[in-house]
Amino acid sequence: MRSIFISNSVSFLLGVCSMKFLIRYSILLLLYILPFSLYSNEQLSAICISCHSSQQSSYIPNINGQPEQYLKRALLNFRANIVPNTMMTRIANRLSNEDISWLSKYFSSKSISFSFDREINDHPGLDIYNQKCAACHQLSSAGIPILTGLPKEYLGDAIDLFKQGRRIMPASMGYYISNMSEQETKLVIDYLSGFKVVPNGN
């Protein structure tokens, strides 16, 4: 479909431009064709989505719609073996800088929303989230990950790693995390993992 559209449009452009114009528009043409003829990044993303889905999962986090800077940082950290996670360390090992940039951009551009099947406003975790997490984690554009809808065990392990100082975090986050009781942590995780990620049809 796409290629028919391209060949159609290209031939249309060619028809419009006589040889004189062709040279003039050659750069434009090149730009038009280029994104479709480079190395197939789509296949790289297929490796990711063989495990990362936007459907409910028991551990593997949703990466769709996460901020580009966050995804990029995460992949770079996995590759540099800074974040302990054996599978992702091994997969990131095969990615070039260009691959990482492209994948981060690709998955961040996916649009998602969230749904929940229970009365989330009554959830005791909501208040704790609003007081201690939301100020930064609602600002997804700043390269801070969206926590909503992440799996329970994944969040639990991540928080443990933060507490042990083995995942890098800003000082403010260190403050909030170290001042959160076990019960509070549990409630926040329960609240966040109660959401379902819903892809917006792209």
Binding site: M1, N8, F12, G15, S40, S50, P84, M87, T89, D160
Partner: protein
């Protein structure tokens, strides 16, 4: 005049190009390429999902069974591990969602002259491109006393529901004190870590249900995949290597090669073992459909073009998944799905007459050793044009490191489930 002529040509060109393009589009739309997929396993279904996203084609799936029975996660289902996923799925939801034609029939033969597939019912289907994912078949030639006729007495549990249920029944009926004997095949076979994952999960089951029984692995090989990680896990969970071990392992060198099975007795080089539950996993080859239609070579597997997955033996025919000789890639669901997507790209490039972009070859495979304890391998492969093979890249490949922290093994057991849901179960979701 000259200017006018130019103008006229210009306007003509302006008007005609979209018309030609449009005509081309509608022409293609009404004579959509006919793609027939034989075999509704992971590879066949992934191919269909992948290609319908890219191009408008007419797809027919031919599959003998009304439901898919997964090999992935079947060891967890065999021992009814807590929270084990459902492994049997009806094709109907997939068919409806993908909007394809489904023929529940046994594909028998390929007529490559008339481009037809002839089914057991006598019906035939025409194709422009034939995608085959025929899976595996078994060879019963190296162990005396077992054949296709009595395979259910020594169920492999390696393919299909019938054998799986027979094995499950034998496990549950196993008298306490007798070993659960796994006879592991020599390379090359489907799911290389499968026998060893089964050993761990069955050992866990025996501990709870038959405390005097143990698992005995009789192997025709000298070593197996992820062996160090498996052995480490077995030591942690099943006292492997001690007198009380719940798993006993005899490699080829230790006399694990089996020569004969008679009744409840297994005759191996190391001695004779007795059990009412003998899990004999035979040597393997490509499925019958591949064998009967000239898709296999002397190795019993199907040679393919590594860039497109096209058969090197039959025109307009592609081979995906377990049946194919895919270089260093193992016979796993993840590999099959990877190959299916590569093939979909190749078929699209062929139909649209565009250049095929280089492919990404990757495999990920999780194995459970006990409930909440998993290990994994991630492997990268490359295609070099002067090297006729899909070659493993060792420096970009790795197994769960030994002596990892406990949370990592737990996390990997969860990731195994997620990956199963992603590449198998989600295909059958509404």
């Amino acid at each position: 005049m000259a200017i006018n002529n130019n103008k006229r040509t210009f306007i003509k060109a302006l008007l005609s190009m979209p018309l030609i393009g449009g005509g081309l589009y509608f022409g293609l739309k009404f004579s959509r390429p006919k793609i027939v997929v034989v075999g509704g396993g992971c590879a066949g279904l992934e191919f269909i999902e992948s290609i319908i996203d890219k191009i408008d084609v007419d797809i027919t799936l031919i599959e003998e069974k009304p439901a898919y029975h997964s090999c992935f996660m079947s060891n967890a289902a065999l021992v009814e591990m807590k929270e084990h996923p459902k492994i049997k799925f009806d094709y109907q939801t997939f068919i409806k969602r993908a909007g394809i034609r489904f023929i529940q029939d046994k594909a028998l033969s390929i007529d490559s002259n008339t481009k037809r597939i002839i089914c057991a019912s006598g019906e035939y289907v025409e194709y422009d491109y034939l995608i085959t994912a025929p899976g595996i078949g078994f060879i019963y030639d190296n162990v005396e006393g077992v054949s296709e006729n009595n395979t259910l007495s020594y169920p492999h549990g390696w393919k299909g529901e019938q054998s799986f249920l027979a094995l499950k029944d034998k496990l549950q009926q196993l008298p306490d004190g007798q070993p659960f004997i796994i006879i592991a095949p020599d390379k090359i076979y489907k799911c290389p870590p499968g026998p060893y994952e089964r050993a761990g999960l069955v050992a866990d089951y025996l501990r709870h249900h038959k405390p005097n029984s143990y698992v005995l692995i009789l192997d025709s090989k000298s070593s197996f995949t992820k062996q160090d990680a498996f052995v480490e896990g077995w030591k942690k969970h099943y006292q492997f290597g001690t007198q009380n071990s719940l798993i006993k392992y005899l490699s080829k060198e230790a006399g694990g090669q089996v020569t004969r099975i008679k009744g409840n007795k297994v005759f191996a080089k190391a001695g004779t073992f007795e059990s009412e539950c003998i899990n004999f996993i035979p040597r393997q080859r490509a499925g019958d459909f591949a064998l009967n239609n000239g898709l296999t070579n002397a190795s019993g597997w199907c040679p393919i073009n590594f860039d497109t997955m096209a058969s090197t033996l039959l025109p307009n025919t592609y081979v995906l998944g377990d049946a194919a000789i895919a270089g260093d890639m193992p016979k796993s669901a993840f590999s099959a799905a990877n190959q299916a997507r590569i093939c979909a790209n190749a078929v699209v490039a062929e139909i649209t007459k565009t250049t095929l972009k280089p492919s990404v070859y990757h495999n990920v495979c999780y194995s459970l050793i006990a409930p909440n304890y998993g290990i994994s391998i991630s492997a990268a492969y490359k295609r070099d044009y002067d090297d006729p093979w899909i070659r493993l890249i060792p420096e970009q490949t790795g197994i769960t490191p030994l002596q990892s922290e406990p949370w990592i093994y737990r996390a990997e057991s969860r990731q195994a489930l997620d990956t199963f849901n992603r590449i198998i179960a989600s295909k059958f979701n509404k």
